[in-house]
């Protein structure tokens, strides 16, 4: 988990700033690039973007908090995205969500204490025929039941245990 902003990351972010400087509508692409690099939007970066786009820090902060994509805090090692789409809802996604929350002891948007997971809900992952669906990082898990969900989480937890 990147906590301090290391020089290498800052350097690659400065490259993005140079690319977008003086261009119209560059606040969102800059924030997206910052999040790609740092995994979240650090305070220092907000200031940099404000200077580069000639806007107030409060404007940038306003944009960051408006869009769901942007995070102001670092995330856990694995991001769990629980689909809240209609098809998932009709196919009992609520139960799956409850299992995850209970098992990990976190609510939406929170990180587990060990920094292993971050829990997010998303509007629709768009694979409605596999409902209910969750995504862990880039892997999609479909047709879930509470049991299956628990098993999947266990796999991640066990894998981590082995590494340690």
């Amino acid at each position: 988990m990147p906590t301090a902003l290391d020089e290498l990351n800052l350097e690659s972010f400065n490259k993005s700033i140079r690319k977008y400087r003086g261009k119209n509508g560059s606040i969102i692409p800059l924030l997206q690039s910052a999040q790609d690099i740092f995994s979240y939007v650090p305070e220092q970066v907000i200031e940099k973007i404000a200077i580069a786009t000639n806007s107030h820090v409060s404007t940038i902060y306003g944009v960051v908090t408006f869009y769901k994509q942007f995070r102001l805090k670092p995330v856990g090692k694995h991001i769990i995205r629980v689909c809240q789409g209609t098809a998932c809802y009709v196919n009992s996604a609520k139960e799956v969500y409850e299992v995850i929350k209970n098992k990990l002891g976190i609510e939406e948007g929170e990180n587990t204490e060990d920094g292993l997971f971050t829990l997010q809900s998303v509007a629709c992952l768009g694979c409605c025929s596999l409902a209910p669906v969750i995504m862990i990082d880039d892997e999609t898990y479909g047709s879930l039941t509470p049991e299956k969900t628990e098993k999947i989480l266990d796999e991640y937890i066990n894998r981590e245990g082995e590494v340690k």
Partner: protein, 590 residues
């Protein structure tokens, strides 16, 4: 030479199509089969319910589609069906000899999806082979800009994003607006939960959307365009980037296109996750880099849009129709459909339905035909209760009204809307109050907060709905909901607020009895609202097998082996696990 096509849309990949693809690719390489078979990726074939899908095209032009393909099936398909020419009936989803789920396709008319699942979306040559960029060429050399607009007007095409505004009229307004610089924007911020039409088109046939945008740009006099795509659609973005690069290479994008003097540059803007950005003025604010909040209209974007310039915004599906209309003529397009709704509509079928997937049907088809003929009916043959159309802006149409035809005005009359094309089927186990709560939770979350009624009104409505589903509903709650709904509808600036109460109003209209049962009798007839559901064990049927007690997550069930078990109502959380596992159906839900 035979061809193997692997369906590689997001649905297919999540179901394991990438494993099948890698396996086949390795086999073809290891066994030096590139002389015997062509292996290609394709977009969404539409039959998401049988993913991963693999299609084999034979030399004589016929083909067979196989479903639920894993690497073992893929191996057999490659070695037996393709190399040994053995014909197969097993696993076949669709077949040239009319086997399999025929009715899924034969009621469809594929205009927007003409290339989806047919071509390799990463190959511009595939697109060109199917008349791609022919419409653009024809327009640039044979049509004046006004003639293009005339053609689109004649076709009767209306905005497929849900609003249903005549596309030709929109183009005409932008074309007539004074201004040196004009923009074309494609709205691909498909945010409705339960909708994946635009994603499938962008993933399966990106060039058709680009060509549609080019034709629009020529007709209104724009030299720049943006594709505003949800960041949640990484695959679509990747394929669009590839398509834009290819089109630029071949001279279909950029300066002086095909030496016609027409210039057009296209950029992708990734959305950052805000449902309200599907609204045109909010989308423009987002491209400009601001908080995506809607503005008062007029001025409409056609007059004052992106950076103050005249701007035309259409949805993905609308643009994908355009090249077909130019090539086949507006009359042929208007041949399909009803008096006021022409052409076809793409629907994303999902929910409690046997064949979920992507379908394109002519306007005027009844909901019944879609649910039962195309989609094969309700899962597990349960009772069909309603369809939900238009997502959080739409409403439910009850089974009794399922002879309603797909037509902008007819659907509006029921209290639902055509919407962008999400069609969710609900069965007897769906609680309509809970459905209303679900959609309102969504809009409440996504309200940008600009208009007081939308921001606070939806919150109050959600509180009322929550207490109803928890068994604390009060007399007069239904009227309170209706009253709030009317106020939110009339006092919100944009479509989000104006339509947010629709799911509540339409469920009250058709399922008022269910609301009353929740409030007065404290009962949820569908058995969904857990606070209102009680489980007990029928002593006559219980055999004391202990299965339920073992499965109970809160240890609420106790008893001795081979004697009747009892559920303690205090500790029971009404999860229903006991009911699922009981071999004798001894658990009763009431």
């Amino acid at each position: 030479m035979k061809k193997i096509l692997v369906g590689m849309g997001t649905c297919g990949i999540s179901a394991g199509a990438d494993k099948v693809w890698n396996y086949l690719k390795d086999k073809v390489r290891q066994e030096n089969l590139s002389e015997n078979v062509i292996l290609e990726k394709t977009g969404c074939i539409g039959m998401c319910y049988r993913e991963p899908l693999v299609e084999v095209k034979f030399e004589n032009g016929t083909s067979q589609v196989f479903g639920e393909v894993d690497i073992y099936r893929a191996d057999e398909i490659l070695h037996d069906v393709v190399l040994k020419d053995e014909k197969r009936d097993k696993w076949v989803v669709y077949d040239y000899e009319k086997k399999g789920d025929i009715s899924f396709f034969n009621k469809q008319v594929r205009i927007v999806l003409r290339n989806c699942g047919v071509i390799n979306p990463e190959s511009i040559d595939d697109y060109i082979d199917r008349d791609g960029y022919n419409a653009l060429e024809r327009v640039l050399f044979d049509y004046s800009p006004d003639e293009v607009i005339e053609t689109v007007l004649d076709s009767g095409l209306r905005g497929r994003g849900g609003g249903g505004f005549p596309t030709g009229r929109k183009w005409m307004f932008t074309s007539k607006s004074p201004g040196e610089k004009k923009y074309v924007i494609c709205n691909a911020d498909e945010g409705d939960p339960g909708a994946f039409m635009d994603r499938s088109v962008l993933e399966g046939d990106p060039h058709s959307v680009i060509e549609g945008m080019l034709i629009c740009a020529y007709s209104i006099g724009a030299a720049d365009g943006y594709l505003y795509v949800r960041a949640e659609y990484p695959k679509a973005i990747e394929r669009l980037k590839t398509a834009i690069a290819q089109a630029s290479d071949r001279g279909y994008l950029g300066y002086n296109i095909m030496n016609s003097g027409f210039t057009f540059h296209l950029k992708i803007k990734e959305g950052a996750g805000a449902f309200v950005c599907g609204e045109e003025t909010a989308l423009i604010a987002s491209i400009e880099g601001h908080r995506g909040m809607p503005k008062i209209r007029p001025p409409f974007p056609a007059v004052k849009g992106l950076w103050g310039n005249p701007t035309n915004i259409n949805n993905v599906e609308t643009f994908a129709n355009i090249p077909w209309i130019i090539l086949n003529g507006p009359e042929k397009f208007a041949f399909y459909g009803t008096d006021k709704s022409k052409g076809t509509k793409v629907f994303a079928l999902a929910g409690k339905v046997k064949r979920s997937g992507l379908v394109e049907v002519p306007m005027g088809m009844s909901i019944n035909e879609i649910v039962f003929d195309v989609a094969g009916g309700v899962k597990k043959d349960k009772k069909f209760k309603a369809v939900q159309m238009g997502g959080p802006s739409g409403g439910c149409i009850p089974a009794e009204m399922s002879n309603t035809h797909i037509d902008y005005e007819e659907i509006q009359k029921t209290g639902a809307i055509m919407g962008s094309g999400g069609l969710i089927v609900m069965d007897e186990d769906t609680c309509m109050v809970d459905v209303a709560k679900f959609f309102l939770t969504f809009t409440q979350n996504e309200s940008c907060g600009k208009c007081t009624f939308c921001r606070i009104g939806t919150k109050r409505m959600l509180e009322i709905l929550t207490r109803i589903t928890e068994g604390n509903g009060k007399d007069g709650d239904i009227d309170r909901l209706i009253q709030l709904s009317e106020k939110i509808k009339t006092s919100s600036l944009c479509g989000l607020g104006q339509t947010a109460p629709n799911p509540v109003l339409s469920t009250i209209k058709y399922f008022r009895g269910e609301y009353e049962q929740h409030i007065k009798d404290k009962k949820c007839p569908a058995g969904v609202c857990t606070s209102l559901v009680k489980f007990r064990i029928d002593p006559d049927k219980c055999i004391g097998c202990t299965l339920c007690a073992k499965k109970c997550p809160t240890n609420a069930i106790s008893g001795e082996v081979r004697k009747t078990f009892i559920i303690d109502q205090e500790t029971c959380i009404s999860c229903g696990k006991c009911m699922e596992v009981c071999p004798r159906d001894a658990v009763i839900k009431e």
